[in-house]
């Protein structure tokens, strides 16, 4: 017990808790419509683009977040357009974009600083990466994501469930799709420092998948995904402190365990 209390005496761990809880909450909420709309790959693509942007910013000595936020937002809009135009193989287009962004990032870093621990922390996340300004930014942006999500909850449900019906009844589907991908972009940039570019998309996808296994209503799935995500993050971060494992990977494993447990529950229920 004392070791847990001792954990909170480190300011960097407190920062990680604050940012992580907010980011995992936002990611899981946005994840439900994204997974249901078959947009899961967008999150993955965005995190790779975000890595490329960070690598370039670092090479040029710019502040990472102000550079990567607009770049990733732009990429989000682009990927959304690709996904909407279903004819040209959207999944392939996203895969190509994300691999290219990753390649650019790797080349830029190897030409300038080389593969340092900094780069490693962008790839797989680091608990030490966050400073005070990150915390302030995270709190502000997460609040914006949460408020927009709650206000537009019913519209997001409608466009997720049935785009053509929503379009026909005059809901501005394009606008809300854009909103969804911009919010996702913000969440991914924020979470990337802590979770790492390779692992952040699991924060979007896992909680939604787990919640969908065991619940039947959209509202239930959204709430459950939020709770599961925050719990998994806290458990993962604590475990990573106790076991001295990387925080991003540990959180992903916590999410995986919950997902498997949910599958088990669903399986048992079907038998009964």
């Amino acid at each position: 017990m004392s070791i847990l209390l001792e954990m909170f005496t480190y300011p960097f761990i407190v920062r990680a808790f604050v940012v992580g809880i907010l980011v995992s909450l936002c990611a899981s909420l946005l994840g439900v419509p994204l997974v249901l709309k078959r947009y899961s790959m967008i999150g993955d693509g965005l995190s790779h683009v975000s890595f490329g942007a960070l690598a370039i910013a670092m090479a040029c000595g710019w502040a990472p977040l102000p550079v990567s936020i607009p770049v990733v937002m732009l990429a989000a809009l682009l990927l959304l357009r690709m996904t909407e135009r279903k004819s040209m193989g959207a999944d392939a287009a996203i895969a190509v974009t994300s691999a290219s962004a990753l390649a650019i990032g790797v080349i830029v870093t190897s030409l300038t600083t080389g593969m340092t621990t900094d780069v490693d922390s962008y790839m797989f996340g680091s608990i030490l990466a966050l400073d005070r300004s990150d915390v302030v930014l995270s709190v502000g942006l997460s609040a914006a994501v949460l408020v927009l999500f709650v206000l537009f909850y019913h519209r997001l449900f409608a466009i997720t469930f049935d785009e053509s019906f929503s379009r026909a009844t005059g809901v501005k589907v394009g606008l809300y799709n854009t909103l969804l991908s911009v919010l996702t972009a913000l969440t991914i940039v924020l979470g990337m420092r802590l979770m790492g570019a390779m692992l952040i998309s699991s924060l979007v996808i896992f909680p939604a998948l787990s919640a969908m296994r065991i619940l039947k209503s959209f509202r239930g799935v959204v709430l459950c995904a939020g709770v599961l995500s925050v719990v998994c993050f806290c458990v993962g971060l604590t475990a990573s402190y106790l076991l001295s494992t990387p925080v991003g990977a540990t959180v992903v494993i916590a999410n995986l365990m919950v997902f498997l447990a949910c599958c088990l529950i669903a399986g048992i229920r079907r038998r009964a």
Binding site: L36, H154, D162, S164, S166, A168, T169, L215, F218
Partner: protein, 237 residues
């Protein structure tokens, strides 16, 4: 009594990238009408539907809608998509989403809307399913849920895109009876794209046949006497 004209299509050409699927199309839908749009695949039925819903501009001519319809108050029953079949949502959540069109900048459903949704579910005979999960329902039940949602959106006009596709014969007959009830008892105008010629002729008051660049519009009786009707509806006479 003069019936109100809900849709007035005048000399309309429709198509993609200069290729017209419909030319000089003119027809009207009045309140209480039951119009069935029939024709082969690829003849432009869905294109016409898209322009009636305001999702596509005609290449020439005008489609005039009644003022209340233009505000988005059309009940639309789209073809089901595969994504919906494993969607976690309760019946009530789906039905309520029909009200979004009329919400403007309001963000949440009012108690009046909630009770109206219950009423529509009752009318469709799915009230006892209201807390069930949409993906666990049968195809016929799902269609009733979507129909209730369409009723929440619309007071006067329902537009349906191949509603019986994928339903077993009993469920399809059920759906036709429900539509007939809505049309004759509640005075709802119905526009339906369908391949089911027999039921189109049985229930429809007018028929719009899509051929390639040609079309026929008239009552079901007129249709049977026309060259199109003789080919497609011949088994009835």
């Amino acid at each position: 009594m003069d019936k109100k004209v809900l849709i007035d299509c005048r000399d309309v050409s429709l198509g993609y990238e200069g290729q017209a699927l419909w030319e000089h199309l003119s027809f009207q839908v009045k309140s209480g009408d039951y119009l069935c749009i029939v024709g082969e695949n690829g003849s432009g039925k869905s294109t016409l539907l898209r322009s009636l819903l305001g999702l596509m501009r005609p290449m020439a001519g005008t489609i005039e809608m009644d003022r209340r319809l233009r505000a988005g108050a059309i009940g639309y029953l789209p073809q089901q998509t595969r994504a919906q079949r494993d969607f976690p949502a309760t019946v009530t959540e789906v039905v309520l989403s029909g009200f979004l069109s009329s919400k403007g900048l309001k963000f949440f459903y009012t108690p009046a809307e909630k009770s109206q949704a219950l009423m529509h579910m009752g009318k469709m005979g799915i009230l006892e399913l209201k807390d069930r999960c949409y993906r666990e329902l049968s195809g016929g039940q799902q269609q009733r849920v979507l129909l209730s949602r369409a009723l929440c959106a619309a007071g006067e006009l329902l537009i349906l895109d191949e509603p019986v596709t994928g339903l077993d014969p009993a469920a399809a007959q059920d759906l036709y009876r429900t539509l007939h009830y809505l049309n004759s008892k509640e005075g709802l105008a119905i526009v339906m794209v369908t391949h089911d010629m027999q039921n189109a002729l049985r229930y429809g008051t007018s028929i719009l046949h899509a051929g390639h660049r040609q079309w026929f519009f008239g009552t079901a009786e007129e249709y049977l006497l026309s060259p199109y009707g003789k080919r497609f509806g011949g088994d009835r006479s």
